[in-house]
Symmetry: C2
Subunit: 276 residues, 2 copies
């Protein structure tokens, strides 16, 4: 029966199945993503990533579908996992590489994977655009507010204690008040210098353990407010992501990618149909 | 780094990771179960099964821990998955075998696994004890009620339409009213002859897609009430389980086991510790 070999990874608890498809034999269909990502009857993951052939000079082209089968343009955690998968499979050595995504080419710096499966991966996240303050949000415990664009829209709210915020109640309410929705970051400076404590309400997902684009948005707003320098440790509930600013205002995001398992599945399904 | 090879299976959506440990090298610790069963940072499953060496004449000894790390004596879905794992790994050929469990020796009849990963497995479930009617429950839409023991305690309630019952509300209330708790089955005869439609409230788990011991309890009560014959198709929300009575009152339970994936994980953890 046709078999597909994948690796499972996670970045701060956000988990992905990744497969290499250099010969374009296994299209990333919605059905394949739903079947493999299903937690009980499949392998289980938040998303499925296909790494296909790419133009000369690029390591791979990356396609991503979420567990519901829908396409996603990019994921900060997903692209770190994809970079680790390319190195673990021996497609490229550890170091710098460029991956083509639906959101354009992304530069990665993938560290070696240690015996426990852990690697540190830095991804170029482009230039966050701080669109300006949002004074209508500056009330109660919100001392400053800014709208930030990081490929997707963010509302960053500077609060006295992000740990004490009722994120589901306030995040959903803020998301609903912006046409098209918005990701909402509750951020508090500290505990150390150049550190931020962050809790994120992700548009369409609710509160999450860690958000890559949200960490970049929060760091960009905090920098505009003069609260942090060029390299910021953003403490998400699920772990720390480091945001570093280049001179042109673009940022890189560094965080862990954890190899969980090597997985082999049959592509045949009951009744003789195949998934690919 | 030390590696462990496992297979992932499910029985009507209840999923298990299974590994063979013929040389007693990888103890089934609570930590290993929690790490591997965790849905996002591990492989993900409801439980982890170790198949170790057994006395002559037995196929294996089976140990099971749930995702929370706690030991479980037996699981009707788990033992079907374990039987399939033994055949898929080539330890025994398809057919009859005996597996030692914490609840005693259990006889299995494991069918061959087809190209889609599906096998049908029959497990000996012992003799359900219909302890007698429970007239205090016969009110409203409950026409008959019985207490049944299948290694664990059950309260079987015969209702006009199991599909219409508010199982979470009524199941939790019934569980709470019995000292030590109880599994609660809402059962309706049909739609066909010798068929039952079942919804189960599992003690400690809530409503589940399918319950092996609950299917046996419901069939035993329905047989005591004269509603079904010797072979009963029990329609659980997650699929059909077949309960067959032998002359001595013992039952076998037949249902699907689905091979999902072959999985390989590293046993080393960050910091150099190992899981086994």
């Amino acid at each position: 029966m046709p078999q597909l070999r994948l690796t499972k990874h996670h970045g701060l608890g956000n988990d992905f199945l990744v497969y290499l498809d250099p010969d374009r034999r296994v299209p990333l269909t919605a059905e394949l993503a739903r079947a493999l990502c299903e937690r009980h009857t499949g392998v289980g993951a938040d998303g499925l990533i296909r790494l296909g052939p790419a133009e000369a000079g690029l390591a791979a082209s990356m396609e991503l579908r979420n567990a519901d089968g829908g396409r996603a343009e990019i994921s900060g955690n997903g692209i770190r996992c994809a970079g680790q998968a390319l190195v673990v499979a021996g497609v490229v050595p550890p170091g710098e590489m460029v991956v083509a995504t639906a959101a354009g080419e992304r530069r990665l710096d993938v560290g070696p994977t240690d015996g426990s499966g852990l690697a540190h991966v830095t991804a170029d996240m482009g230039r966050p655009q701080v669109l300006g303050d949002a004074p209508e949000w500056e009330k109660g415990d919100v001392k400053s507010a800014a709208r930030v664009e990081v490929g997707n829209p963010h509302l960053v709210l500077l609060v006295a204690d992000a740990g004490a915020v009722d994120v589901p109640a306030r995040g959903s309410s803020a998301e609903a008040s912006v046409p098209g929705g918005v990701n909402v970051e509750f951020v508090t400076p500290g505990p150390g210098a150049d550190e931020l404590t962050l809790r994120t309400w992700e548009r369409g997902s609710g509160e999450t353990l860690a958000c890559g684009s949200g960490s970049c948005a929060a760091a960009a707003a905090a920098r505009a407010w003069g609260l942090v320098g060029e390299s910021v440790a953003v403490r998400n509930p699920g772990g720390v992501l480091r945001v570093a600013f280049a001179e042109d205002g673009s940022v890189t995001l560094t965080g862990p990618a954890q190899l969980v398992a090597v997985v082999e599945v049959a592509l045949e399904r009951p009744g003789g149909a195949t998934l690919a």
